[in-house]
């Protein structure tokens, strides 16, 4: 065979391998895009998507399927339908559980004084009204000392609430309701935050419109606390405008839910093989053999009790945690974003090839895009615009540390009201010291990576791109995850003991 033909053949094979997709790119074929714009096409897509939700074991697959079906048939009324669907989600589906409120009521002996049938509705209505009130105050007094920085004011307010609930001697019934409000409000605080960020924009989005996207129904697919995909203003920006755009967007959503399903299958194999646990697909995947790797939290507890793992077991434990967390984050993001896309919003994926990152900052961007964006918008920009303007390097370092460190810690701390109730505010902060250390370590890592990126403008050499870069990123991320625990019974010292056991010490 002539040499040029061999070359051509190899080039052809290489091209196909390079462009091979496990899930075909239906959104790129006009025949599928055109079909998806017909009523029959919409029905087929929604049915296939609902099937995808069902096999990925989403609890409310039927409700989500019906909502998405209605949205697909009436795309022009999308925003009103989403508000209705979200309200239905909030009030009618047992979405905001009040188990913790009941525990507090039992603790304070106020169970009989509370009307449990209406409690959830009361608390949600109070919270939504409060959000509107806070927003209106922030608009009216936007130049006042207190509300010039509305996010800081919001966080301060939440801490004052926590302080009052923990330490101010109020009647038990009031305390119970206050904790109820705190527990529900924690799910809305960052949604309100996005509305507050919008106040200074050129054409602010009306609060009535924004409220419709607070805990929009797609968050229910995975009970997420983080606003996906950001606030109402961004959601408006990525809305599809034409039937063709909607068809492409929905096909991308369909692909994503099946991609999430494939990840769930892999994750189930992984948990079964590595930990010996049955994963999400417990009826399908039961392997005869397991490595029985000890989970990091248990490994740290073993180190604390003076029985550390052998060094290679400790490494297995740590790397398994990284892979497990990556699966979890990707699956959660994919499921939510697939619902967002099915609703007609062309949102970017939340996790995208994280292990192809060449730097830590790039990894963080790929690992959990919307959390990174949240930290940047709420913590990085405000600091970056105000401080160290004359020292560019310190400016980047400090702002990145505030976002990846302080913002990250604050976000996780505010979602632990149970610990705060049990220990009191100050003790809860003290018990969070390991995660605070994690935030500091992680923040410094990202900040240094940012600085290096900023200095380096060229193309990375091949070994940095494919070998040292990914190894360093994976290694550092694995290492900081040692301190990612929020278990209050383990101290920083216990975590360090585990870290030493990695090196046989």
């Amino acid at each position: 065979m002539p040499r040029y033909l061999v070359n051509q053949l190899f080039q052809e094979i290489w091209w196909h391998l390079k462009n091979f997709k496990i899930i075909p790119q239906f959104d790129k074929y006009p025949i599928f895009v055109n079909f998806s714009q017909t009523i029959l096409g919409k029905i087929v897509i929604v049915l296939l998507f609902t099937l995808g939700l069902y096999i990925t074991k989403i609890a409310f697959w039927k409700e989500l399927g019906i909502i998405l079906g209605i949205l697909s048939v009436f795309p022009r009324h999308r925003k009103y339908l989403i508000v209705l669907a979200s309200l239905y989600w909030l009030f009618d589906i047992n979405f905001l559980h009040h188990t913790m409120v009941r525990e507090i009521a039992e603790d304070l002996d106020t169970v009989v004084l509370i009307n449990w049938d209406t409690l959830r509705v009361d608390l949600i209505l109070t919270t939504l009204l409060f959000c509107v009130l806070f927003y209106q105050l922030a608009v009216k007094y936007r130049d006042s000392l207190l509300l010039r920085r509305p996010i800081a004011a919001l966080v301060m307010f939440y801490f004052i609430l926590l302080y009052v609930a923990c330490y101010v001697p109020l009647p038990d019934l009031v305390i119970t309701y206050l904790w109820g409000f705190i527990i529900v409000f924690k799910r809305f605080i960052w949604f309100l935050g996005y509305s507050l960020l919008d106040i200074r924009s050129k054409i602010p989005t009306p609060i009535a419109y924004q409220i419709g996207y607070y805990q929009a129904f797609w968050h229910g697919a995975y009970l997420a606390n983080l606003p996906f995909p950001k606030g109402a203003r961004y959601i408006k920006k990525i809305e599809t405008k034409t039937p063709e755009e909607l068809a492409i967007c929905q096909l991308k959503g369909l692909k994503l839910i099946y991609w999430a399903f494939l990840l769930i299958v892999l994750h189930s194999f992984f948990t079964n093989l590595v930990y010996g646990e049955v994963g999400t697909l417990k009826n399908l995947i039961q392997l005869p053999y397991s490595f029985e790797v000890v989970k990091v939290v248990s490994a740290i507890s073993l180190s604390a009790s003076g029985e550390p793992l052998v060094w290679y077991q400790a490494w297995f434990s740590l790397f398994s945690r990284v892979i497990d967390l990556t699966f979890y984050t990707a699956i959660m993001g994919h499921i939510i974003i697939s619902c967002v896309r099915m609703s007609g919003y062309m949102a970017l994926r939340s996790t995208y090839k994280p292990f192809s990152a060449k730097t830590l900052a790039d990894f963080w961007n790929r690992f959990f895009y919307y959390f990174k964006e949240f930290l940047v918008e709420f913590f990085f920009y405000p600091v970056y615009l105000r401080y160290f303007k004359k020292s560019p390097r310190i400016r980047i370092f400090f702002a990145t540390l505030c976002a990846a460190g302080f913002g990250n810690v604050l976000f996780h701390f505010l979602f632990s009201p149970k610990t705060i109730y049990e220990l009191g505010l100050w003790q809860a902060i003290a018990s969070f010291h390991v995660y605070i250390f994690f935030g500091l370590l992680f923040g410094v890592g990202i900040a240094l990576s940012q600085l290096r990126n900023h200095r380096f403008r060229g193309e990375f050499p091949w070994y940095r791109k494919w070998i040292t870069g990914p190894i360093c990123v994976f290694g550092f991320f694995a290492f900081v995850l040692i301190f990612d625990g929020t278990e209050s019974h383990l101290t920083l010292f216990d975590h360090f003991r585990f870290a030493l056991s990695l090196f046989g010490l």
Binding site: L197, D198, R200, S201, K202, R233, Y234, K237, I238, M346, L348, A361, N365, Y369, K372, E373, V376, E377, F380, Y381, P382, Y384, L385, R386, K389, P392, I396, Q450, R457
Partner: protein, 81 residues
């Protein structure tokens, strides 16, 4: 304003080609919504606007949708100057 437009176009082209995402951008290409630039790239643009045009974003804050395209950035510069 054409000089401004050229400067912004060249800056954005530099950013997206550095990331290997696009070869050339049009003035109305949705960069943030299309995923070609992210919040960290916006920071580079802010620094450039501060230095090149003496803009101050403290009061205005950063609204990512204003950084979505060459057109929207040029409009923002016009409003802030």
């Amino acid at each position: 304003m054409d000089v401004t437009r050229d400067k912004i176009r060249s800056l954005l082209n530099e950013i997206v080609t550095r990331k290997g995402l696009l070869e050339k951008i049009a003035d109305d290409t949705g960069l943030v919504s299309g995923g070609f630039i992210d919040s960290i790239d916006i920071m580079d643009i802010v620094v450039y606007l501060e230095q090149e045009f003496g803009l101050d974003f403290i009061d205005r804050g950063i609204d990512q949708t204003e950084f979505d395209s060459v057109n929207s950035i040029v409009l923002m510069i016009k409003e802030m100057s």
